[in-house]
């Protein structure tokens, strides 16, 4: 339930609703979309990436001297959890064809395709299989299927959204594989939203010029992820899942090829070695690093583990200076602060409004532009609404959706959103939601080509951990597509690669070398990575955790 002091503002929203409904019905944009100059201006002044402290020079490793996101630079300039000399690499504990690091969408898709090509794989996952951002995507997946759309138009939209920094080959792979992925998922048993005649229901997303967002109500990721997981679990002869067993370092061989990794059992605190002919990193993003102090929409394990492992092994990163803030993170009630409110809400006609109930931005600009406009409205124009805990937000008018799409639409298409709010006495069919940008996606990542190959032979990367496909800003619905397209590709190309590769003596020398580099650069840090799990332990508890020396535990 909203506090009384917010009522006058909510009434203004209700008062302007009919007029805004007429505007929406006219078919013209409800607010003028920004041109190139306007976009640049709002980004420069208000996007969190453009604040001076947001980026700093990284002092070591393959991207040395590049300016990247400060928190990522801190994470990369850190010590390993392990000491190479403690490991006997002549007797690996596990051997397999392909080691897949991460049990989210990309990891499962890779395992399925590898299995179909006859390769055996191990999926190592830090939490449970499917505990990933893939599970949480609500709105949908882009794919150019309709007659008035085309993969090349999808390409153009994605390039523009990414400020033309995207790697063309990756965008082509992403957009050209899209329709096939829709079919592949349906054949696995994904239940897409469809119209009576069997055609796929499509909606707009931010920055799209054609309606191409395919959905499964607002549980799109949950439906896809559980389908992929079920498929994976139906092939225990070919795919082994190791849960609560993250990989913490990569293994190389004496020829510099990637040859597996070091496993860590989170519960027994044991380490194991895995020898593999090829390795696929599918570890997702880094929202739980809480960059710039933002709340995040990400799952509990999104700590960028793959980035640091790959970086220590010598893999190049791309666009690590760019962070995505989802425009519509929840800000009220406090218990769900930062939670994702799907872009499908705006795709279905929901409008962002200031405290006067007025539109101030086109509702479906690309995410970075939309987020920056929200921040400008709150901080510069002082038109935000303050919550009891001091957060600022703008309204996201959902009742309007029922007017545009018909009564009952929200309950049918947005069951998750409705549940999320009704628990706290807010009925989103009748009242707007209060939103502010929330840390959402890692735009950059480990650089790959369209076969998911990196600069290290035998190391493949797929999904959010990669960089290049989305330039410096990903469009809505392109990450669900991304983890499917590149997960599948990683599975296929890694399976081809293992047919001819010979692995020589295993080594962890790169860990020692990286630590030497830290010393040479005179970097002093206590940080040990991968981070694995964020800590939400309050300060006063921390002060009492006085054990002097830990061996191998999380703290």
């Amino acid at each position: 339930m909203y506090p009384e002091y917010m009522r006058p503002s909510l009434e203004k929203v209700a008062q302007t609703r009919n007029k805004r409904f007429e505007l929406e019905k006219s078919g013209k944009p409800v607010f003028p979309p920004m041109n190139a100059e306007e976009r640049e201006e709002v980004l420069n002044k208000f996007h969190p990436d453009y604040k001076p402290a947001a980026r700093r020079k990284i002092r070591i490793g393959p991207n040395k001297d590049e300016h990247i996101t400060t928190e990522v630079a801190d994470m990369l300039e850190s010590h390993s959890r392990i000491k190479p000399e403690f490991f006997d690499l002549t007797k690996p504990d596990y051997e397999t064809d392909i080691l897949i690091i991460g049990g989210g969408g990309a990891g499962c898709a890779a395992a399925i395709l590898a299995m179909q090509k006859g390769a055996k794989s191990i999926i190592s996952t830090k939490l449970r299989l499917g505990d990933a951002n893939s599970m949480m995507s609500q709105g949908g997946m882009q794919a150019a299927v309709t007659a008035q759309d085309s993969p090349t138009r999808h390409y153009l939209d994605a390039m523009g959204g990414g400020h033309f920094d995207n790697k063309p080959d990756l965008v082509r792979a992403l957009t050209e594989d899209g329709p096939e992925v829709v079919k592949w998922l349906e054949d696995l048993g994904v239940v897409w939203d469809k119209l009576e005649d069997g055609s796929l229901q499509v909606l707009h997303g931010g920055g799209t010029s054609r309606k191409r967002m395919h959905s499964c109500r607002d549980y799109t990721g949950a439906i896809i992820m559980r389908t992929l997981m079920d498929k994976v679990r139906n092939h225990p002869d070919k795919i082994t899942c190791l849960e609560f067993m993250p990989i913490v370092e990569l293994l190389l061989d004496s020829k510099g090829q990637c040859a597996g990794g070091v496993l860590y059992n989170l519960e027994t605190e044991e380490y194991f070695t895995v020898k593999a002919k090829a390795t696929i990193i599918a570890t997702g993003g880094y929202g739980r690093l809480h960059i710039r102090g933002f709340d995040t929409t990400n799952h509990y394990g999104a700590t960028g583990d793959g980035l640091v492992m790959a970086y220590r092994a010598g893999a190049k990163l791309l666009y690590m200076d760019s962070v995505q803030y989802h425009p519509t993170g929840s800000v009220f009630p406090e218990q769900i602060a930062g939670f994702l409110i799907t872009e499908k809400i705006r795709g279905a006609g929901g409008q962002p409004l200031n405290k006067h109930g007025e539109l101030f931005v086109f509702p479906r600009e690309p995410r970075d532009v939309e987020s920056s406009a929200f921040i400008r409205e709150c901080l510069e124009k002082n038109n935000g609404i303050e919550t009891p805990s001091g957060r600022l937000g703008v309204w996201l008018d959902s009742p309007l959706i029922e007017m545009i799409q018909g009564e009952g639409y929200i309950n049918k298409q947005f069951p998750a959103m409705h549940r999320q709010f009704i628990r706290y006495g807010i009925d989103i069919t009748k009242e707007s939601m209060l939103v502010y940008p929330s840390l959402h996606y890692q735009n950059g990542g480990i650089e790959i080509n369209d076969k998911c190959e990196t600069n290290i032979p035998g190391l493949y990367v797929a999904g959010e951990a990669t960089g290049g496909a989305h330039g410096r800003n990903r469009l809505m619905g392109n990450s669900v597509l991304d983890y499917n397209v590149f997960g599948r590709r990683a599975g296929i190309f890694a399976s081809d690669y293992i047919k001819s590769v010979k692995i020589s003596a295993l080594t962890l020398n790169h860990i020692t070398d990286y630590d030497d580099e830290l010393k040479k650069a005179k970097i002093k840090t206590d940080l040990i990575t991968p981070v694995l799990l964020p800590s939400y332990t309050p300060e006063d508890v921390r002060k009492r955790q006085l054990t002097a020396c830990y061996e191998g535990t999380l703290r």
Binding site: P3, Y155, V182, I223, A416
Partner: protein, 247 residues
């Protein structure tokens, strides 16, 4: 077709309304986490309370937003014989709550090949014969933190009504609370998953346009335009982008 719910759900506690920056001293509640007493903020979620008390969760947290089902929790309230269920990430604590998270749900997942199944009742009989042991006690429905009509979709599976299994189980998070309350030892969420996959694969009406588009891509219909875009100078691509029409 949905039966009336006889379950008595606990009423949801409303968030207190305060005015901005008038946040006086935090109201606290006493909760018993696995039997140990802790003072936690009265408006915390169960997950928030566990972390506030100083626990580092390993099992029992996933998405933290109500999508993954990792944080199934059971609890009792003082003076109340009932056992309640909820997700730790979305359920608020209450004074006197005695709670325990379920780190994992023991459940079997039979191995099957979806390509070799038929979308009918015989498939459920073969893969999940225990479905037919359902005694219609409705415990599963009462336990569901998503308020799904779980028993109804189990009954639908018994009738071979796959569309109803799909529809009623669509929002299932596989948290497993239904399965641990079931006296007939059914693993409801796996039954729902099978039903959804059968529906998506076999019963959902085919999109002709999708078939057509896939054929076009295979015939490399978009090759030429992709190549043009790739070789285009940034300024020209930019012009194409800002000049494009919108549906």
């Amino acid at each position: 077709m949905a039966t009336q719910k006889t379950a008595k759900k606990k009423p949801v506690k409303q968030a207190k309304s305060k005015s901005p920056k008038n946040d006086t001293k935090k109201t606290m509640a006493t909760v018993f986490i696995m039997g140990k007493s802790h003072e936690v903020p009265a408006d915390a979620t169960i997950m928030g309370a566990i972390e506030y008390a100083g626990y580092q969760i390993i099992r029992g947290a996933g998405c933290r937003e109500g999508f993954c089902g990792a944080c199934a929790t059971v609890y009792r309230m003082p003076g109340d014989y009932k056992i309640y269920t909820g997700l730790a990430c979305t359920t608020l604590v209450e004074d006197g709550m005695w709670l325990s998270q379920l780190p994992a749900i023991p459940a079997q997942k039979p191995v099957y090949d979806i390509d070799k199944l038929d979308p009918n009742v015989a498939t459920f009989q073969k893969i999940y014969p225990e479905v037919f042991r359902c005694v219609s006690c409705n415990s599963c429905t009462k336990a569901c933190p998503q308020d799904l009509e779980v028993m109804d979709y189990i009954n639908a599976a018994m009738r071979g009504d796959i569309e109803a299994v799909m529809d009623l189980s669509f929002d299932c998070l596989s948290c497993g609370l239904c399965a641990i309350r079931c006296p007939s030892e059914i693993v409801q969420y796996n039954v729902g998953l099978l039903g959804r996959r059968l529906y998506g694969k076999y019963l959902s009406k085919e999109s002709k346009q999708l078939k057509k588009r896939i054929k076009e891509v295979k015939e490399r219909k978009f090759d030429k335009e992709y190549k043009e875009f790739k070789t285009m100078k940034k300024e020209e691509l930019k012009k194409n982008y800002y000049d494009r029409d919108t549906e």
